[in-house]
Symmetry: C2
Subunit: 196 residues, 2 copies
């Protein structure tokens, strides 16, 4: 950015968090969502089972289930999947990028977070692997929404329910337009929050 020392953008945000003292659960500070290990475990299981962008209904069900372990909102589930998906991809990309770089500047140690858009990638090297990955995922199937119960039961016990975790087809945003006659339920995208 410009060397003036300006905070790039200083995206506002007053916050004023401290006010939320009398929250609800354990250490509910009203700040950002702090998932419990069980919650993360379950989400990770779902992700490993192939879930990438759950529908609104699924999000709500998941959120409802996970609220058993602590405070949670739908948007947390949504964000979690967004971030996890993106960061898995990112991770994978970085790996295969290193694999593909010939002798450009591979000597440079992997700095903290190279701003990515600084170095226009060849766009052929890693995209292949990503596409491959996505294709694989599209092949996967999704859980029947009742399975969550089972997962919850097993979450502290074992992790050998893998054969259960892939069943139905993912009815993602693409089924959105079928609810067309009405006011169109769940806005198919980022908006699929709809804080119940």
């Amino acid at each position: 950015m410009s060397p003036g020392g300006l905070p790039t953008k200083a995206r506002g945000l007053g916050r004023s968090i401290n006010g939320g003292g009398g929250g609800g659960g354990t250490g509910t500070k009203c700040g950002r969502w702090n998932p419990t290990v069980e919650q993360v475990k379950l989400l990770t299981d779902l992700f490993k089972a192939g879930m990438r962008t759950p529908s609104t209904d699924q999000i709500q069900k998941i959120s409802s289930e996970l609220s058993f372990y602590g405070k949670i909102e739908s948007k947390n589930v949504f964000y979690w999947f967004q971030n996890h998906k993106a960061r898995e991809r990112q991770k994978r990309r970085k790996i295969s990028c290193i694999d593909h770089r010939r002798d450009t500047d591979l000597s440079s140690p992997p700095r903290y977070r190279p701003p990515l858009h600084e170095q226009p990638p060849p766009k052929d090297s890693f995209e292949v692997c990503v596409e491959e990955e996505e294709k694989a995922i599209e092949t996967l199937q999704l859980f029947p929404l009742a399975k969550v119960e089972r997962v919850r039961a097993n979450v502290t016990a074992a992790t050998t329910h893998n054969e259960y975790t892939r069943e139905q087809a993912y009815t993602t945003a693409f089924s959105t337009y079928s609810t067309c006659g009405a006011e169109m339920e769940h806005p198919p995208l980022d908006l699929r929050l709809s804080f119940l």
Copy 2:
């Protein structure tokens, strides 16, 4: 188009639009939102008045007002602002880019839609102007939400209410976290749809 004839990507999608025959209003085909000229006019006015990312409340109010002219949902308003903002920025960016290019290939006529990511811009030329623009906008103020009435009255008559269109401060998403005690109303971001 590409000489292969393939539809570039064809990302699935069954659609089945024709089923929505008995919609509601005038030519309600159930497809995507098709704004009326009045709606666009009002949205543009708000944008010109400095509104960039209205809060959930504002979106709902706007949507409610605009529903007078035809079918509309909150998410349409949200999307409109997203797209309009982005495309204004894009436009501006392209212009200043041309301004700064020395003698690279300025002879080439402005083709249909250069894929943008093909040509990594200097990132110093246009960012200045964009920043300038954004700063200017941040200075602006917003309408008191009752003014919309007046605009609606004048929309088909005249366009000389410009002095009315900038009044209150914009209480954008940054006031989001003040509603923290409860379940946090309106998710501050893309999700700020909440299809009432």
